[in-house]
Symmetry: C2
Subunit: 556 residues, 2 copies
């Protein structure tokens, strides 16, 4: 069996290795247009920052062997042609045409072909885009160029165009090196995989770390003489000795469209659950292939290195006649910037609504470990559930605490169609250095249960803000302790500590609406129950408490 | 509705708070025999070590309010009698008898009674057990006594009797304070919740940190004049200026048996899924109540603070007429000692076999993050699955890396009855600072799939050792690189780096058995496939590679 694999970064080599393991007689050849094979693209931001000190670490195995063509030949028994581009696939004759860097053309026959052609960075067609020191971050070469530039510049302004993951990951490296970083994002928020208010927490954190975040304004051009000097936007001009484009990627499908393979609605190559394209002898894996969202069952495009590995294995199994299927993705994502983690899985709130769900959400901001442990740090979890089935649809977490663990738990729960009631009862590991006795994700599930069951009626911070702006006559009841209020108070709030509420009911008006809250709205919830029991007609709780309040507060 | 709750540490106050929230008219009274309410018992080891600096932090809310009886009255509207013991329950007349510290007796009527009487430390009846400086670690008072002793002693030998969780958690604190610690455990291993070879990894780590671990020998008595000076065992005597007993706990069921409630086979109070005892008006929650193992459906006894909280909520809901059930536990556990984490969930290997499963296991030792990240640390995962259904039954993880996250993922997967095939395809969050591109738990699942599908036949390190001891004629093939071999070689092994294996086949005997391995047995697995393909008759892979080899190695 002759297998030809186009693309040598992630999914391609994975498929190759597995094919040889399952069928040692197979004749497997990889074509890679670049120089480097099987490298950790996700590690590039850490190579730029110097956390990863040498380029070769990104292409080494865990024990230090460099995965070059010699390695693939000797260890894996896979032939590799790097710096060689496959330019055409002749499906009828089962052969592919390739061209080497020096222009030599050749043909190779295949029984099975695997497309692992990856994705291309989106490069906006803007005036000045051809100026020097405007970089994308896709391959090792890009990272080298950025490193080189950084070592040459001294005081420097860097503009990151686009608030996507790569840009955020690189931000920390740039700030550590003394750069002044501005992120310019056309959309009203950075990090489109997060719900707006969760992204807002990241924006405020970045700003507290000296990063300028400009949202809602598009870049209109780049200015400079040979090299970039500034970036023009619809809201003014920003100095920039370097620009990094982080607008996102598009699946690289030229080879697939060239030979008439079906392309999905997302623009990526359409495949079935065996990773097979519309041609049964051609498979597509990794960033060039379309994904299925496990929750909605609909096509989506979420290119991830973790997914590429799994797809490579499934394609290899399918090629070797072993039954295996890839169920799809949840869009699980995690990213670190300074000491902040942001993570998500499943559907976002808008995504869930767009998919037709009647959605209920809940926030649970809380310490990530037993609160008496000095290592405890806050994280804010948001859960998104379906009112009808009570199934968990999505989860997001942001903060200095451990967020990835909770999102992994949520990912499995969503994958299995668990209800929030089932999630709340999960037996997760507990000891003070690792979690609170009731883990954050269980607390979040319990808040959601309380809301679903009508014990708690929530109102979002932005809705409360609107009530103030609209001049609504209501009582904004802060039940925190006086010490907490001194630190940061929301103007217009009335403070009655929870412990004094039962004896202070006559200071409030039963017939006026009440919005109760505390730091995280657990005490706010208790306050609302007390008020309702005392005959207050209209009592709601501000979701997430002051922790989720994105507007200004005052020191008393 | 009058609700009386016996026990004020974890599950009791949780039930009380929830009852008042769901039914503000309820009249709820807590009796607690000790002084302290609602304190974090799991935090005591960290109070001894000074990580938690003040006692009151253990009984404060996350915002610093002390949960004393005034707090419960004002904030929760719950009456609390501490230093008051409930001595009798008169089920027929729905009333309980109590006695205060000064001997005053009284009676209280109830509509519903909640037993949250907790557990008692097992205190062995051994000669000298009454000597001074022999401590259990159950309540705040115990922790105070231990702290006091530690501050008075200078050079000191401490013996921990029993290799349970509390003893291990306290070990780090003691070593940090300059104590010489010896752990004496009657069983052949410490940490009975782990499989023996996983506990072995912890034992060797403790020994590398200067802790003496003595297994397989029981304590026969304590010697000293007023205060303990040494501990006698069936294998000699150990100096001890302080002894900490960590043998485990027994459910405190005196009150339940006294009023004729049914006790389960585990010795804990028998309850249904609503936390109701054999008397429909009496509930039991927390460490005094029996649990159900979710995998086997059988009763078990795993007292955990995390479970107590959930049970308290379910009991409260049941009392307030809200339908809620507690599905049971997985025995999920995590513990930190020095920089090592040990964690587990579901069934252990022996437990699974005893429950009648035909078991297959796999090891996956690997870095917990992308291997090129300097923060990556190793963890060894063991998975236990059912051969017939391919369902994941149990998981354990040990090492310096992040183990709790992977065990939480496994807990949800086991809870939902996932097969290892499904686990291997999970879309978990990935970025280099958080996980390898293929997360450790997915790799472990893939190893198990390879074994279940017959692609890999494993052999345990102890079986290989036995082959050596029995003089079996076999080829022990180490396919690591020469550099790795120089660091640590297993005597009797033949080294052929994987990359040279295909061209060195004639140096091996096709008709003699081969056991192949590498550092973690991924390359060992590839080697086995190459050999089988080359006509070698009997080829197996050493599970977990040299990482799981517990015997000595030599520097070359």
């Amino acid at each position: 069996m002759k297998v030809v694999i186009v693309g040598g970064v992630a999914a391609g080599p994975k498929a190759a290795s597995r094919i040889i393991r399952m069928d040692p007689d197979a004749d497997v050849t990889i074509f890679e247009k670049g120089e480097f094979l099987s490298y950790a693209g996700c590690g590039l931001p850490y190579y730029i920052s110097g956390v990863v000190s040498e380029q070769k670490e990104l292409m080494a195995t865990p024990v230090g062997a460099i995965r070059d063509s010699v390695f693939f030949q000797n260890v894996k028994n896979v032939e590799v042609h790097n710096r060689t581009t496959v330019t055409e696939v002749d499906r009828e004759n089962h052969r592919a045409k390739y061209v080497t860097e020096d222009g030599t053309e050749g043909y190779i026959d295949y029984d099975k072909l695997v497309l692992a052609t990856g994705a291309n960075n989106i490069k906006p067609r803007l005036p000045g885009i051809e100026l020097g020191n405007i970089f994308s971050l896709k391959g090792v070469e890009d990272a080298e160029s950025i490193r080189e530039q950084l070592s040459e510049l001294s005081a420097r302004d860097v503009v990151i165009v686009g608030g996507g993951l790569i840009g955020i990951e690189v931000t920390e490296a740039l700030v550590d090196m003394g750069c002044r970083v501005t992120i310019i994002e056309l959309l009203p928020q950075i990090l489109p995989m997060l719900d707006p208010e969760m992204a807002g927490l990241v924006e405020r954190y970045l700003e507290a770390n000296g990063v300028k975040v400009v949202t809602g304004y598009g870049v209109t051009g780049f200015n400079g003489d040979g090299v970039v000097e500034s970036v023009s936007t619809s809201n003014g001009t920003y100095n920039a000795e370097m620009v990094i484009l982080s607008i996102g990627v598009r699946p690289s499908v030229e080879l697939a469209t060239g030979c008439g393979l079906e392309i999905g609605t997302t623009g990526a190559i359409k495949i079935d659950e065996h990773m097979r394209t519309s041609d049964p002898d051609i498979f597509a894996v990794g960033d060039c292939a379309e994904k299925v969202n496990i929750v909605t069952g609909k096509p989506c495009y979420v290119p991830m290195g973790s997914t590429a590995n799994k797809e490579g294995r499934v394609a290899a199994n399918s090629i070797c006649g072993i039954d295996d299927t890839f169920p799809g993705v949840l869009g699980s994502t995690v990213c670190k910037v300074f000491d902040f983690t942001l993570a998500r899985t499943g559907l976002g709130e808008k995504e869930a609504k767009d998919a037709g769900y009647d959605v209920m959400t809940a926030y649970a901001p809380a310490p990530d470990k037993a609160h008496f442990m000095p290592t405890a740090k806050p994280i804010a979890i948001k859960l998104i559930a379906d009112k009808k089935t009570r199934k968990l649809l999505g989860a997001q977490a942001v903060g200095e605490g451990v967020a990835d663990k909770r999102m992994d738990v949520a990912a499995v729960a969503i994958n299995c169609g668990m209800t929030v009631d089932q999630v709340a009862q999960l037996d997760l590991t507990y000891a003070p250095p690792f979690a609170p006795a009731v883990d954050n994700i269980l607390t979040a599930a319990n808040v959601l249960r309380n809301k679903l069951d009508g014990h708690m009626t929530g109102i979002m911070p932005d809705e409360v803000k609107k009530m103030f702006d609209d001049g609504v006559d209501f009582q904004f009841l802060d039940v925190r302790s006086p010490d907490e209020v001194k630190q940061a108070k929301i103007e217009g709030s009335i403070n009655i500590p929870l412990g004094k509420l039962r004896t202070s009911l006559d200071t409030l008006d039963k017939n006026k609406p009440v919005v109760a809250y505390c730091k995280i709205s657990l005490r706010g919830y208790e306050a609302a129950l007390i008020l309702k029991h005392a005959g207050f007609k209209d009592v709601v709780v501000m979701d997430g408490g002051q922790f989720m309040w994105p507007y200004k507060t005052v020191k008393v």
